[in-house]
Symmetry: C2
Subunit: 167 residues, 2 copies
């Protein structure tokens, strides 16, 4: 592992949190990171719904079969995309999601990617809780907080998935 890339390998899925709040400065940094992602023709088709209200976090937890950790998260960020702006929104919002998770690791926070787009009933449940328009895709929900569990940095490198010059 190259030390210059530590932030990438340190990003792990963190589902337990200490309960300590995440500061507004840190939330701003997470959003900066998300919007620093590349997008098709730089159309930036993303929207971010930042949730710190506890009752809303609990409602999000109840809205998704694998979303229980949201009830104890310091915040959630719904990464949404507008297909009317770009038909690359799914890739673009995935890159933005990954940027936010890497930024969380870089700030000493932890988070996990909860998928919604691709499972219409989960996507709709998140829309309903947050009042997101029907025309907007909800790519993912991020659950973020101060880590209440420790996971080692790792690469998952697998030579069997690498091809050279030809498949």
């Amino acid at each position: 592992m190259d030390n210059r890339l530590q932030i990438l390998f340190a990003r792990r899925s963190i589902r337990r949190y200490t309960g300590e709040p995440v500061s507004e400065v840190e939330i701003h940094s997470l959003l900066e990171a998300g919007m620093a992602a590349p997008s098709g023709s730089n159309q930036k088709p993303w929207h971010f719904v930042v949730v710190t209200d506890r009752a809303t976090l609990r409602a999000l937890a109840d809205a998704h079969p694998y979303g229980k950790m949201l009830a104890n998260a310091a915040l959630a960020i719904a990464v949404c995309g507008d297909p009317g702006i770009s038909d690359w929104w799914l890739q673009d919002c995935s890159a933005a999601t990954e940027n936010i998770l890497i930024a969380a690791a870089g700030l000493g926070l932890g988070g996990v990617w909860i998928s919604s787009h691709g499972r219409p009933e989960r996507e709709q449940a998140f829309r309903d809780v947050l009042g997101i328009p029907e025309t907007i895709g909800v790519l993912s929900m991020l659950s973020i907080g101060h880590p209440g569990e420790e996971k080692k940095a790792r690469t998952q490198f697998d030579a069997a998935r690498v091809h050279r010059n030809r498949w």
Copy 2:
């Protein structure tokens, strides 16, 4: 911009290269970064085709309407996904693609994301050049090299895209 996140903001789309080769150690680091991405249920549905052969790079450049920079890149990486492993492959491979681009920035290299999946004729043209099976999706092609152009780190932060607790 928080300095701990510098690598994220330093990632810019770099389309001009010096011609200097990228070392095998660096290529390995790029692949480690790609495979360090999160994936749905950790199924890791990705494959990576690393291209350093000049004739193949030229053929890739000819295969895509916005792929001209590939002809002068030190390498290309086709980020592919197997829908038979996971129906989250598009999100997973987007995260892997973004990780590789961030890693390139972290190593002092530069790259650009060339989209293919979503435009069937572009995806098929890449498949044909690299002998990629029909059952495999080609999410993106990355063009990578030592930067021959300089771009400033930036955030693209836009407060109009941020919603709080509700859309």
